[in-house]
Symmetry: C3
Subunit: 345 residues, 3 copies
């Protein structure tokens, strides 16, 4: 619990109103209670704010019709993130050191400040950096490296020869460095092409739960710095993803495709192999990308085309019954006109 | 092996025929052999029953043209479930108690009748109820609670501050309580919004393998009592699902969307964030739900619309080549009519 | 590092050029460097080969305009696979024997040459064949069997009564033998139908990471010999898959559906329950299969229809704006013709 004055100081806000009000929770405008603080990150929440009974609001300009305390900041998102950290449940921090049940290979270097959880296995020649936390049940293969301040959650499997950067988060049950789906027909049967490459996960990448990132056939599968990936996402061999991309749940990106920087891929999108998605591209949900997409454009549909064009197409598809009716009527009318013309001959 | 008389008694059926016939297996009508018992849960199986060589059938009214023994019950499904339990492979029951390799935190309360498997880790302040079974490799985070008669299968990861009810089943490699995909742009880079909420899995929920249920940003992600979820399903932060819903494999439900009671979502459906799906709604496979769906209706397509309308639209899409031909012919005919009209001027 | 002469000998190639050139890497034509060997598995790479600076190429007929050493073979894929194995990172081989942290049940038979990793649990009455490797964190249920030369990667969960063949690979975090999604309504609530069947994974099947293969309600879910499955794939109860199929990432196959031999299912395809997919069928990405598909044909779309027809339909959908314009013009012209005809009456 914090007073509004304490919160204003901690998040660097200008306090507009009573500094002694006690705040017990953080909530969105729609569900805030009288002991909570809320926030306006989008003007569309302003209308509801006047009806919101929250004791206080974090906002970037004073709201006239809100009766509570106002904490004015220049960047509401940044202030909200600070506030949420203050109200986050207090959890005990994983202890530095190696749990006695962990199984550690030869020539392994683990920083003293790192925390290696119960039943973790670390194969030969692995390095783990400062302050990194490997939770219980994590498995790390030979020659892989993990940077500093990185968090690998329970039961994640990292195969051999993978490089995980610093400030990375990989959530539970995700697999990094699995062999990709590359088969050649030999004597009429599919035979696995050995995948001799690795995976590079750059700094500040965050990967959700139950994802798969395949290792490269040659060279490396690469996920660029600052890119964030949701749950149950598939990244195939030799995919190269740029910086600060957002990839939503259940997306699948096929072999050797490339994403530029700042690309946003909505949920359940599929991307075929060997295509290039330019910087800043946005792909709408459930799209099926079958060819290159130029930088700065939006795509939608399966197969994916220009976003606005697809939206128009959806509308025309909904008009198909009317279209069918119009054609039927036209056929009838033209027949009548033809008959009339014949009569006059 | 049971005789037909024994089976009739055990499942509460009226025996119509020889009670001494020995039954060795349970099978569907299509594959039943002469030593097996079959069942009719749907009238469409009746036609095949006359040709079925099964020794016996579980059915709700006597079938005239079936030569074998008939076990007449009022509810075939309930009787079938009882029968299958009789024929299920006999497995040794997990022993009550804590396996010596399990790692247990402080202030943990585990019921004496509960079974904690090998290499399980349980963090501080966790509670596990009577008769619950945590299989090998399960990881449970701080402050989480597990009710009575609940089964958590191998390698499931439950993060901190999650509440799992009684009579729940969570299958292998599923992740509960992962941090959701919520990022804000701060200084031009995506920064994680702390997720200070939890997850509530109510009683009798069953969740398949390799699913993800994200924790809430605020308050709780909730899965209502009796809801059943298939494999590889994604439930995002702050989703609220009602009671007795059925959610088929590979569905993705985005943040803060709500499902009523008794909703059925078919395979690979995607639901965007912040929509309301009313009670009893049925959504067809691979649909993409982009807006609210009223209670009691059916939806289909991506983007999803009314089911019957979409089916008609699919038919009209299949007629597009014919439509194109008709338009081409109309253009030609109209041109001819115009030419003829011109000639007469 | 190998010389071109050494490589030629090891992969059984005819050497055309200098045998003393040192080769340090294998790379595709597009990214090969001056110290590498490349390969031509597809004529479309031939055009780029002349501009490729690779020191050597594996090819099935001499390329006139390539300046480097040529290793001529009859089957480039087979030679490439041999070459990649030569250049694969050298990893220490898992030691035969049972890691002291593994927990082994009663009546278990493990071949002396098999390797059972750290924190593996093996339940009662399990058999593991010669040279098979169960990596750290694998869980195997009662009565299951694993053949020879099979590799089960970290944190895979195999439930009870599953039969895994020889030469099989199952990658990390995959679940085999989970209970399928089969519920019956009893007293108005969904109640699980006991799944008393098992799973049979035949020889040389390879399954990616984070997949789910459900056990059968009756009899067995079967994956035929030589079939290869990518990551995050869902195989439901009682599915029967033929031999040497290729099933790409995020595909979902619903209950009791059957695939013939040599079927190819592209990424994110969904297949409803109880359909038959004939031998050699190819289903395009994101298709939704709702009915049987005859052997030897190709299908596409959701709902899936004949491939060529669907491609034509996609083109016509892209022409819908033009179609709308044409109809509007026709309506206008017909109205004018009708007016003119009226005037003449």
């Amino acid at each position: 619990m914090f007073t509004t004055a304490q919160l204003a100081e901690k998040i660097g806000a200008r306090l507009d109103g009573d500094g002694s009000v006690e705040i017990k929770a953080v909530s969105p405008v729609a569900s805030a209670s009288a002991t909570g603080i809320t926030f306006v990150t989008d003007d569309k929440h302003l209308a509801d704010l006047s009806k919101c009974e929250a004791a206080a609001v974090i906002i970037d300009k004073p709201a006239e019709d809100f009766g509570g305390v106002q904490l004015i900041v220049s960047d509401v998102n940044a202030a909200l993130i600070k506030t949420l950290k203050l109200f986050a449940p207090k959890l005990s921090v994983p202890a530095a050191g190696i749990h006695p049940s962990a199984v550690i290979g030869r020539d392994v270097q683990i920083a003293k400040s790192a925390s290696i959880g119960a039943n973790v296995t670390i194969a030969d020649n692995v390095r783990v950096g400062e302050n990194s936390v490997l939770a219980a049940g994590v498995q790390v293969g030979q020659n892989s490296t993990i940077g500093n301040d990185t968090r690998i959650d329970s039961n994640v499997v990292i195969y051999h020869n993978c490089s995980i950067g610093s400030g990375v988060i990989i959530q539970a049950n995700t697999t990094i460095g699995s062999t990709g789906f590359g088969y050649a027909q030999v004597d009429g049967r599919p035979v696995l092409i050995p995948h001799i490459g690795g995976v590079i996960i750059e700094d500040y990448v965050e990967i959700g739960a139950n994802c798969c990132v395949d290792r490269a056939k040659f060279a490396n599968t690469i996920i660029g710095a600052g890119t964030k990936i949701d749950n149950l996402v598939q990244i195939a061999h030799n995919v190269i993803i740029g910086r600060c991309c957002l990839i939503v749940s259940q997306v699948g990106i096929s072999g050797s495709s490339r994403l530029g920087d700042g690309v946003i891929i909505a949920g359940q999108v599929g991307i075929v192999d060997n295509v290039n998605i330019g910087d800043g591209v946005v792909v709408g949900g459930q799209a099926g990308v079958t060819k290159d997409i130029p930088a700065g454009t939006k795509a939608l549909g399966s197969p994916a085309i220009d976003y606005a064009e697809k939206v128009r197409q959806f509308a025309l598809m909904n008009r198909l019954p009317e279209t069918a009716r119009q054609i039927k009527e036209l056929i009838k009318k033209v027949k009548a006109l033809e008959a009339a013309a014949d009569d006059k001959k």
